[in-house]
């Protein structure tokens, strides 16, 4: 029973700098929502306003239907996991987890039951007597999560919880967080700058930039149907290629004219959608994974492109190849078997059914 509603939320600091510029967001009960964006986009500020750690300049925040603007953090029934864990260094793991319940005067037996249960879920039962300094980074993060779980709050707030962990542990803890959410099913707001974390964890991803929400949607929708150039470039790694192009009418069909006299046919299914923009300069957006080797058998909706590789990065399961097209960086994710060599022309095909066109003036995806 805890949806979170943000209505016209503004956060302005002294001197008039606006960190958050009037955002609206509805987070449903049991939902896992990830706020993602580059540093300074306002995602952490938004989370801290939900927590009550930052005051709201204007707008309303409601948790479970109650406006909480003037309610202090302790009465909002939320739990938060911080980037640097924020464990109490003088308390044992058990006391760290029990602290919130003790302050709320829970009976001892109930505290014990909840801590034991959370420790079991997080697999930290053997660590309960230890002090935080005797724990590894991953274990500390588990304790921080345990401290949130025992409270059984309406909402979990995560502020970049995995940023202090090394790459391998981060992947492991990511799975762990998802597992915990599937077990306890509490409404969760999670902030990260890592789009992979956002994509893998979220029911819905909220992409923020410069204090506004660029797009809200399930991960697949953001990947396949980005609304703006920012979302298109932010979601996906390596990021989408943006190549300046001109959309031309050619006897009932549309064609894209790229630098170096590359001409690509726009699929017939997109003709109606792009028709109004014929004759205009656009940005042609295509993900590196949609530029592939031309040895494919099914070549429907593809167009040939020949480019000279500048840098080749073999990754094992795939090979990243970087080109330069009239000054624009272009990259492709190719099968490792592709015979790519620096400087040698390489025949590729662009999967035009995965293409995007962006209006260069408004940065909106057409």
């Amino acid at each position: 029973m805890a949806q979170v509603s943000l209505r016209k939320i503004v956060k302005a600091y002294e001197g008039g700098v606006q960190a958050v510029k009037g955002i609206d967001l509805e987070i449903n009960d049991h939902e896992f929502v990830v706020l993602v964006g580059p540093s300074g986009c306002g995602k952490s500020t938004t989370l801290r306003m939900i927590a009550g750690l930052e005051e709201i300049t204007s707008g309303d925040i409601a948790i479970g239907g109650t406006v909480v603007n003037d309610i202090p953090p302790r009465d909002r029934d939320i739990a938060m996991v911080f980037q640097n864990y924020a464990l109490y260094p003088h308390m044992s793991v058990y006391d760290n987890m029990a602290f919130g319940l003790m302050l709320r005067k829970f009976p001892k037996a109930e505290i014990d039951r909840r801590v034991t249960e959370a420790a079991r879920i997080l697999d930290i039962t053997p660590l309960l007597e230890r002090k935080p300094k005797a724990l590894s980074g991953g274990q500390r993060q588990r304790v921080a999560m345990g401290r949130a779980i025992v409270r059984d709050p309406k909402v979990f707030l995560f502020d970049e919880p995995l940023s202090n962990l090394d790459a391998k542990l981060r992947v492991q803890m990511r799975t762990e967080i998802k597992k915990v959410h599937q077990t306890v099913n509490t409404t969760t707001v999670y902030v990260t700058h890592d789009q992979v974390e956002a994509m893998t964890l979220a029911d819905r991803v909220v992409v923020m930039n410069h204090g506004i929400i660029e797009q809200v949607g399930p991960p697949q929708e953001l990947y396949h149907h980005p609304a703006t150039k920012f979302v298109a470039g932010f979601i996906g790694s390596p990021s989408m290629n943006f190549i300046p192009a001109r959309l031309e009418q050619a006897s009932g069909a549309l064609r894209l004219h790229l630098p170096h006299d590359i001409v690509l046919d726009v699929p017939a299914a997109r003709t109606a959608r792009y028709q109004p923009h014929a004759g205009k300069d656009v940005l042609f957006g295509i993900r590196p994974e949609h530029l592939t080797d031309d040895k494919l058998t099914d070549k429907s909706n593809t167009a040939p492109v020949t480019l000279k590789p500048e840098v080749i990065e073999p990754m094992g399961m795939e090979t990243l190849v970087h080109f330069k097209l009239n000054g624009t960086e272009v990259s492709a994710r190719l099968d490792p078997a592709t015979p790519a060599a620096v400087g040698a022309p390489l025949s590729l095909i662009a999967h035009m059914d995965q293409m995007h066109l962006i209006d260069p003036t408004s940065d909106k995806v057409l």
Binding site: P73, I78, A86, H90, F99, G100, R151
Partner: protein
Amino acid sequence: MSAAAATNRDMPSLYGTAGSLRSERRWALIWAYISLIFSAIILLTPPVYMLITSLKTSAEIADQKGNPWIVRNPTLDNYWELITNSLFQGFFINSVIVTVVVVALTMVISILAAFALARMRFWGSQVLATGVFLTYLVPDTLLFIPLYQIVGGLGLLNSIWGLVLVYPTLTVPFCTWIMIGYFASIPKELDEAALIDGATWPQMLMKIFIPVALPGIIAATIFAFTVSWAAFVYPTAFITTPDQMPLTIGVVSQLVRGDVFVWGQITAGALLAALPPVIVYAFLMDYYIAGLTAGATKG
């Protein structure tokens, strides 16, 4: 690894530098030892001479012949006479009462002040924090004249309670300053976590800040203890009746009878007076250093 090895082979001069670094370090150590030994001699000579003197009889002290650094007939009479002297016992008790009350007062005031100045953002808190430190820079040799008026006005001249009132002007600013630095080194997320966990500000102070900042609190306590135990200017100015005197002035004023200096008892008294701080420092030195340097290293 191999790349690093290749770099070393190509740059043999690196080994030369390493050799000279080692010799530089040796010279630095030699100079460090020389200067440390020199300052230890300067600092330790007076207490050692006092110890030697305190073990002599008055006759031996007055005797001009022989080496004054050697005790010919060691005796503990000076100590025994002092310990059984009710006046000296009174000085000791006065010092203990004043110090305990001043330390307690100081810690309560400076912990609360530092917590507010370090953590509760309010208008002017930065200026106030600097102001607290600036008051510490005014020397007591300058302050005792106006304070004499105040203490006198309150009718607390010739009373240890007058000292209890004025010593915090020396201890509170510095202790507050130490505690501000220590509290500031505690990550902000810790209080935010406590706020979300349901703590009120007083609970946060009692259950999180005080336990976490214990090394800093001990450092501040030692400082307050040292200052009030060793204070000299204020009791000299405000106390003239022997039964209200603390050790520092009692020893020098009451053990000098007319123009007769009872050197054996004076030195024994001074050494006994120095004993409590020595004991405190010996046990809590590590905390003291940790507390004083915390703000500097953790930023």
